[in-house]
């Protein structure tokens, strides 16, 4: 998927606020299917989604949605539905009134029927005639989705759609987005939670500090994430002997004995975790604890960025 045929395309896009660079020279092109925009908070995910939704002007580069320039072009909203992260919906409107308003603003021929269909899609019929102000966070998220898909757009953008949802609501949302993708839609959703993206997305874009750290198939990126160099802390019955045994392993870069425990730097996660018990047994040492020290998502993202 490239160029004007892509549903969503960023071509060397940057966006800065004064001296702060929020998005830095990012390019990608997406077609139908579900893509997860993964990154820690403040990485630039919302900025990218807002540029795709025509709500922010790119400082440099080109942002296209369905082949059209997104900025200053309200016509793209026939093709796009945006579910913003902020919950803001007028509290006095009923869910149905909110979705019907969206349908009328889209100039649909039968707004009432379109709204009823969208409300059924997000499974909100039971509370559709209650004021949005009385909704739970999950219900509000769903009513916003109903409003965004009432005109059945081929492209759907969702900013942190799982925030505030309980596990059951998450499952329902995953099923909902899956069925919409199966119907041929291009769906891009942002998340800072790896497992959410893993469960839902076909493709993945990893954003860190405004840069595209990785893009492509989820399994490939998962492998990159797990196969990167890791540091483990190890406690055992004889740290010194274990350190010597580890140093004979090709996957181990170095060991360090300090503060009463052993630190081991390894080339890749899986190889070490598979070998550690065998090596300890061979050295006649009992293992008490093996823990990765830098497995935060932040360090994973930093690694992916520096790798490029």
């Amino acid at each position: 998927m490239t160029g004007p045929t892509a549903a969503l395309a960023l071509d060397r896009v940057s966006r800065w606020y004064g001296n702060v660079v929020a998005v830095n020279d990012v390019s990608f092109a997406l077609g139908p299917g579900i893509t997860g925009l993964l990154g820690p908070n403040g990485a630039g995910k919302t900025t990218i989604l807002h540029m795709l939704a025509g709500l922010l002007r790119p400082s440099a580069g080109r942002v296209a949605v369905g082949g059209q320039v997104a900025w200053r072009n309200p016509a793209v909203y026939r093709e796009v539905g945006l579910v913003p992260e902020r919950e803001a919906v007028h509290a006095f409107l009923t869910g149905r009134a909110f979705v019907e308003m969206a349908a009328r603003l889209q100039r649909l021929p039968d707004p009432r029927a379109a709204a009823a269909k969208a409300i059924a899609t997000v499974d909100l019929e039971a509370v559709a005639d209650r004021a949005v102000g009385t909704y739970s966070k999950g219900m509000r998220q769903r009513v916003k989705i109903a409003g965004a898909l009432v005109h059945e757009p081929p492209i759907l953008l969702l900013d942190e759609p799982f925030n505030g949802m309980d596990p059951r609501q998450r499952l329902h949302m995953i099923g909902l987005l899956r069925s919409m993708a199966d119907a041929g839609r291009a769906i891009l959703f942002s998340s800072h939670i790896l497992e959410e993206v893993e469960r839902l997305a076909d493709g993945i874009l990893v954003i860190h500090a405004g840069r595209l750290a990785a893009a492509g198939d989820f399994r490939e990126i998962r492998r990159l994430m797990t196969d990167r160099p890791h540091t483990f802390t190890v406690r055992s019955s004889d740290d010194r002997r274990l350190a010597a045994a580890f140093m004979a392993q090709p996957a181990v870069f170095g060991t360090d004995l300090r503060d009463g425990h052993l630190t081991v730097r390894v080339a890749e996660f899986r190889g070490f975790t598979q070998a550690v018990a065998r090596v300890a047994r061979g050295a006649g040492v009992s293992l008490f604890e093996v823990a990765p020290t830098d497995d935060s998502l932040e360090s994973v993202f930093a690694y992916l960025v520096n790798r490029r």
Binding site: H50, L55, R57, R86, A88, A102, R104, L105, R107, D159
Partner: protein, 241 residues
């Protein structure tokens, strides 16, 4: 047209549901209270209806009420994020602006036109017919409501400090400077309101711009609405990152 009505109805409900409407009703009641006080004190001397309504309604209450409604109509929705649901629809930005101006202006007028009429009748000398002068001023207030609303809606798009800057403009420019600087009246809404009233009923109030006020007000209304639409077209929604 559907989009205009749709946006106007939701805006109206959002505005009426707030405590601010009650506060604005109290503000709009001030001219009536003044009228009652004048009447209760037995009107010691001849009171000039035009001067009293100018001093209270045109100079103070009208810009303040329009400021609150004008900055709330769109500005508060841009602030709290509810505007995103309207901005991400295939509708002309001018439709959004006109709907917001219409609601803010109509609400301001709905409060201040009756208040002006009632206060005028209360203030008038016994035996005199206050209706022509008061009606003329009320028509000026009606036009002024729409124009102020357009200015404050525009201000709320241009800056997130619309209420503060608008207050400064209303009090300093309209309240003081525009009356002092020669030639500045051409750029004063207060002067347009007075000019319209004078054109309709020469005895109601004196103005400097006279009947040109109608043309000035029309130009100002169109110009501010165009500026607001252009600014809304490039309005940027800032996210959390």
């Amino acid at each position: 047209m559907t989009a205009f009505v749709e946006i106007a109805m939701v805006t109206l409900r959002a505005m009426l549901g707030r405590r601010r409407t009650l506060l604005m009703l109290l503000l709009a009641a001030i001219p009536i209270v003044v009228g009652l006080l004048i009447r209760a004190n037995g009107r010691p001397g001849p009171v000039d209806v035009g001067a009293v309504l100018d001093g209270i309604v045109i100079r103070v209450v009208l810009p303040l009420v329009a400021l609150v409604f004008g900055t709330a109509a769109l500005g508060s929705e841009l602030e709290d994020g509810t505007a995103v649901h309207i901005l991400t629809k295939p509708i002309r930005r001018s439709t959004i602006v006109l709907a917001k101006v219409a609601v803010a202006g109509s609400l301001t007028a709905a409060m201040l036109v009756p208040s002006t009429l009632l206060a005028g009748v209360l203030i008038a000398r016994p035996g005199s017919d206050p209706i022509p002068a008061t009606t003329a001023i009320a028509v000026g207030v009606l036009v002024g409501s729409l124009l102020y609303a357009a200015i404050f809606v525009t201000l709320s798009i241009v800056t997130s400090r619309g209420l503060l800057l608008g207050l400064g403009y209303a009090l300093i420019w309209e309240g003081i400077l525009a009356g002092l600087l020669p030639g500045s009246q051409v750029f004063s809404v207060r002067e347009y309101v007075r000019g319209i009233a004078e054109t309709l009923e020469p005895s109601s109030i004196e103005s400097i711009v006279g009947s040109s006020a109608i043309a000035y007000a029309a130009i100002a209304l169109v110009a501010t609405s165009v500026i607001a639409s252009l600014r809304l077209a490039v309005y940027e929604v800032r996210g959390s990152d």
